[in-house]
Amino acid sequence: MYEYLNNIVGNEVITYFVVAALPLFLVVLPFALIAVLAERKVSAHMQDRLGPMRVGYHGILQTVADILKLIQKEDIIIPQADKKLFNLAPFLVFIGSYAVFAALPFSSKFIGTNAEVGIFYILAVSGFVVAGILMGGWASDNKYSLLGAMRSAAQIVSYEIPTAIVVLTLVMITGTLNLGTMSEQQTAYFWNWNILGGAGEGIQQILLIPFMVVAFTILFISTLAEVNRTPFDIPEAESELVAGFHTEYSGMKFAMFFLAEYANMFAVSAIIVSLLFGGYQSPFGYLGNTLGIPALIPFEQLFWFLSKGVFFVFVQMWLRWTLPRLRVDQLMTVCWKYLIPYAVFNLLIVGIITLI
């Protein structure tokens, strides 16, 4: 992909920029467009409603209309706000969530950076999101925003621990930090996926399955909390904190936060997919192999990666309309008293299994 583009453009720097911008325009923006609508539709149908119906057929153009509205809106900066930090925060949050996309293996031919530190890098850059959220909440000069930012940061920092432990478990099995390599190892056909014990053979694979399911549960819960989605959305709890750290934001800056949230949703789903559900690998072999057109395979991989990611985004929405919001103390209990001990034991047992 990179060499190919380099040949077309002929300039290293421009190629870097193009490659860097590709996921934004090909994945994040269309995804956000669709996901916002899907979220509303899914939530509506789960509550036996219809959701937006008036813009376009069954409301499919609703998000476009919303974006037009957001662009037209006045960019209000409250006079008490700390202007520099207030303006910087949404960008920092967006950078933090977009930087994750650099290490996601969209297909075997397209991965932003094939750096060996892949998943570790993803865990690290979420620190920018925390800093951005704290910055926005503090600069807004609003007690609700500050409270929301505090809760959000506390939540993300706490839930990073179970996430990291589970990721460590999987790194132990696969022996690599690189998501691209990890996906490659879980070669086509779903019984090679890590959730079903990985590409190993024999007794070890079967023994691993229950612990992989535990790992998946922990990973899903903790990443859900990291992106501040219901039932872990106390940082932006509408009923108690108005909207948390982005209460004071309007117009395009609000849209940045919004976009970052949806980018995050996809990013964590993509992480789960690459770690446990075969990454870009197809569950049933490739059409390109059967038809004898190898050029088709990368596109198939892209398709599988995106659809698996979107499926987990759907599960996130599904959970959102199933569970009520947790209280702050319950949130911390779930993390420190349940997820972390389970994750540590899981790590230990998986370690023992891999040794035999």
């Binding site: 930090l85 865990l123 690290a124 850059v125 620190g127 800093a131 910055m135 503090w138 505090m150 940061a153």
Partner: protein
Amino acid sequence: MNLYDIIFYLFAAITIVSAFIVVNAKNIVYAAFSLLFTFFGVSGLYVLLGADFIAIVQVMVYIGGILVLLLFGVMLTHKITSVDIKAGSVQTIPAVIIIGIFAALLIGLMYSTHWAVNPAEIPVTTTKSLGKTLVTEYVLIFELLGILLLVAMIGAATIARRDGDK
């Protein structure tokens, strides 16, 4: 001056300018947030040196951990933003002397070191070899550090616990 040089100077500039702000900012929150950019610039420099793992650890530990803790401390402390930070200069002469000594030492070191001007080849990844050395050669130090952190954690939990709690 090729691309890597430009990127190097960019990161160096980010690091130095933001570090300067950290020291000089009147507002403690500004200082804390500038630290973010300092850490970021330093980790960028690590990447340029081919130390990818260290760079990520820098981001993870300092931005994701230390900085957030710092911000928590700043924001949760009552009226800390209205406290006057002394940014003036006192005891100029001793400071100048000490800084002069350190600067002389550093510059001397810089000139006496044999720099590998033309690095043979940037290793593709440092993660694996780093991990190996950590659990073989330096395993004792590694474990000791782990125990130290554990002790610190237990200590923190004990201090934070209210009297009478079980």
